[in-house]
């Protein structure tokens, strides 16, 4: 709305009338004198320079001279229309995955499909999102959540699918939703959805990727077949099953619900165990230290990887030279990696290698050549001798670890 350029007839009239008392303040654009000559008001253009003198920039590089010519579109936040459901005709329940307390793409797609189900056939339904454990995300209203049930307790920080399933049964008994949607993911949604299906004795539609009126299309046979089947009550949906909500705001009203008592839990979470980083398959490693032709001291490279707790990778040259095994090769001919942080040491960045790291989130380059392709791609580029930089990095990390240890010991006392 605010981006539209609107005419103000009164201001324009004042700008035309040189005898008006407000004329000076409102003069916009070129002013023509009585003889038809273009007149410039030097008092209103330009800016005061650092030495206190007035400067007029005639190159057009500064914005000040354009101040009066046209109102620039202000980058204000667009307020989306609010979608309200005052008295829901029915409910659609969505159980969110919430990996580390935030909505991910899969959650948003699931909410998008839920809104589609709530608004079809004249609508009137409300989407109830159920969040277990810590909730850090504050954009739930923009993702399509009409009602929110948030169950938070100390035990939900751990893996407790039996307790969650029990809670869900209670909620579903109360709300009697038309549909229940869960992301069919390895982050807990797939497991919880199947537990719920077995407990409710409902046959779920698994791997749903498309909704057509009253039927859904699911991936069956481990991804080899498409099954078209009637819409069921419980849906386990795949990623990109629907567009996420982007054009409306939703109410996100909190519905109170306490966790239900569970008498006989049979699963007990003992916490994650530390994994040898080199035992993690390269394709799914979260933190990779990768070495290339620029490395002279491979002993030091391995030592750095073990200190940092990173999985080791290599460029093709390093593998061909026999410095690293073939299964460690990153790139189009090796493994396509998806790391959260990828450190490339002495790798200039051949196009095949860049393809392989396309999915990585943060890339760090350590290289002597500032003009190489890897430096262009990297979020942080360290220019210098890799041996010295790695040695210093190891020192810093070890210092940090020691400081942490002494801190912990201090706390214990």
């Amino acid at each position: 709305m605010s981006e539209l350029f609107r005419r103000d007839p009164r201001a324009q009239w004042i700008a035309r009338n040189r005898l008006h008392p407000m004329h000076q303040a409102l003069v916009i654009g070129p002013v023509f004198g009585p003889s038809g000559l273009l007149r410039k008001n030097l008092h209103i253009i330009g800016f005061i320079g650092p030495n206190g003198l007035k400067r007029i920039d005639r190159s057009g590089a500064s914005n000040d001279s354009e101040q009066g010519s046209r109102r620039s579109a202000t980058a204000s936040e667009v307020i989306l229309p609010l979608h309200q459901v005052v008295e829901p005709a029915f409910y659609i329940v969505v159980v969110l995955d919430l990996v580390s307390g935030r909505l991910n793409g899969h959650d948003k797609d699931t909410l998008g499909l839920a809104q589609q189900l709530a608004n079809r056939n004249n609508g009137g339904g409300a989407v109830v999102a159920i969040a277990f454990g810590e909730l850090k995300d504050d954009s739930l209203n923009k993702a399509g959540v009409d009602r929110l049930i948030h169950i938070n307790d100390e035990q939900y920080a751990h893996y407790n699918p039996e307790q969650r399933c029990n809670d869900l049964q209670g909620i579903i008994g109360e709300l009697e939703p038309q549909h229940i949607l869960l992301p069919d993911s390895i982050n807990g949604g797939g497991d919880l959805g199947r537990r719920l299906a077995a407990a409710l004795q409902q046959r779920p539609a698994c791997g749903v990727w498309k909704l057509n009126d009253d039927t859904v299309i699911c991936r069956g046979s481990a991804g080899k077949r498409d099954i078209t089947r009637p819409l069921s009550k419980l849906l386990l949906v795949m990623e990109e099953c629907s567009e996420p909500i982007s054009e409306t705001r939703h109410e996100n009203i909190l519905m109170s619900q306490a966790s239900s008592p569970l008498a006989n839990g049979k699963l007990f979470d003992q916490g994650n165990i530390s994994v040898d980083p080199n035992a993690i398959p390269l394709a799914e490693a979260g933190f990779i230290l990768s070495g290339g032709n620029g490395i002279n001291d491979w002993e030091q490279f391995h030592h750095t990887a073990s200190v940092l707790g990173a999985t080791e990778g290599a460029s093709r040259v390093a593998v061909d030279d026999g410095n690293m095994p073939r299964e460690r090769q990153v790139g189009a001919t090796g493994t396509w990696v998806t790391a959260q942080v990828y450190i490339a040491v002495g790798i200039s960045g051949a196009i095949q290698h860049m393809q392989g790291i396309g999915q990585c989130d943060k890339v760090v380059a350590i290289n002597t050549d500032e003009g190489c392709d890897m430096v262009k791609r990297a979020d942080i580029s360290a220019i210098g001798d890799s041996t010295e930089i790695l040695a210093r990095l190891v020192e810093l990390v070890e210092q940090r670890k020691q400081a942490k240890q002494t801190n912990n010991e201090g706390d214990d006392k």
């Binding site: 497991d191 994650n272 430096v375 580029s381 360290a382 210098g384 210093r392 810093l396």
Partner: protein, 263 residues
């Protein structure tokens, strides 16, 4: 093998090669058998629900499980396309096993991955999904310690009450090779199962999986100028920071690692 009194049943299905569509041993089921053999050795029982073809070439998929060193496979006979859950549940109610091992999901059919959950519900057992390893089984306290496979190669340790059902993930140890001789020598122990027809799924339409359309990047600009800008603007990359000097570089990298929570 210290777990001699443990009764472990592994459920096997006939897999399907993703490209050639030939029957084969299912990858996850083979891993489940490998896990079972490591746990109890020769005491591992194996169960398959389905028909046994008279044709030798059709038996190769099931025989490749026998080739892993099993003496026999118990075969619950039931017609094709009938509901396996009820047949297996009825059979297992009499057997009362301590541990049941399955794959996460089948390689053909609906492959919803519901079977272990439904069995757990019907038999009143605990259910652990996608395990990579069974660490220990404590028969006195009726508890076992298992490792569950998580995304990004992480592992979670779980304690679970016996008896339990576990579905075995691809992250478990690779199955041993199937040997030809044992595969020929192995026996099928046939038991007649009750037939439960699956009415619902016969009404579904199936087709070969189509490639899913790639999601388009939709530009929701209101004015023509904005749309033009979005269409012509170069992808803003190269906002990278360049650092010179050993000390500064190492510090900048450390700061990034701390920010990402890796150190």
């Amino acid at each position: 093998m210290s777990n001699n009194n443990l009764s472990v049943i592994s459920l096997v299905s006939i897999g399907e090669h993703p490209t050639s569509r030939r029957p084969r041993r299912a990858e996850q089921d083979a891993r489940a058998i490998e896990l079972g053999i490591k746990l109890v050795g020769d005491n591992l029982q194996t169960l398959h629900a389905g028909e046994l073809s008279d044709d030798d070439s059709q038996q190769t998929a099931l025989r490749s499980y026998l080739g892993m060193g099993l003496a026999e496979i118990n075969l619950l006979e039931m017609p094709e396309n009938s509901d396996a859950v009820l047949v297996i549940a009825e059979h297992l109610k009499q057997k009362k096993p301590d541990i049941i091992l399955t794959g996460v999901r089948a390689e053909n059919g609906e492959s919803s991955g519901m079977l272990p959950y439904l069995l757990a519900e019907q038999l009143g057992m605990a259910m652990v999904t996608s395990i990579a390893e069974i660490l220990s089984v404590d028969e006195v306290n009726k508890q076992a310690e298992v490792l569950q496979a998580l995304p990004r190669g992480q592992r979670r340790k779980l304690k679970v009450d016996l008896p339990f059902i576990a579905s075995v993930d691809m992250a478990a140890a690779l199955p041993r090779q199937s040997a030809f001789g044992p595969a020929r020598r192995g026996q099928f122990e046939e038991i007649l199962g009750t037939s439960f027809t699956d009415q619902e799924s016969s009404e579904w339409q199936t087709a070969d999986a189509k490639k899913r359309p790639k999601r388009l990047k939709i530009i929701k600009a209101k004015t023509a100028a904005d749309r033009f800008k979005a269409a012509t603007a170069k992808a803003s990359g190269g906002g990278g920071k360049v650092v010179h000097g050993v000390e500064e570089s190492a510090q900048a990298i450390l700061d990034l690692l701390v920010e990402e929570g890796l150190v």
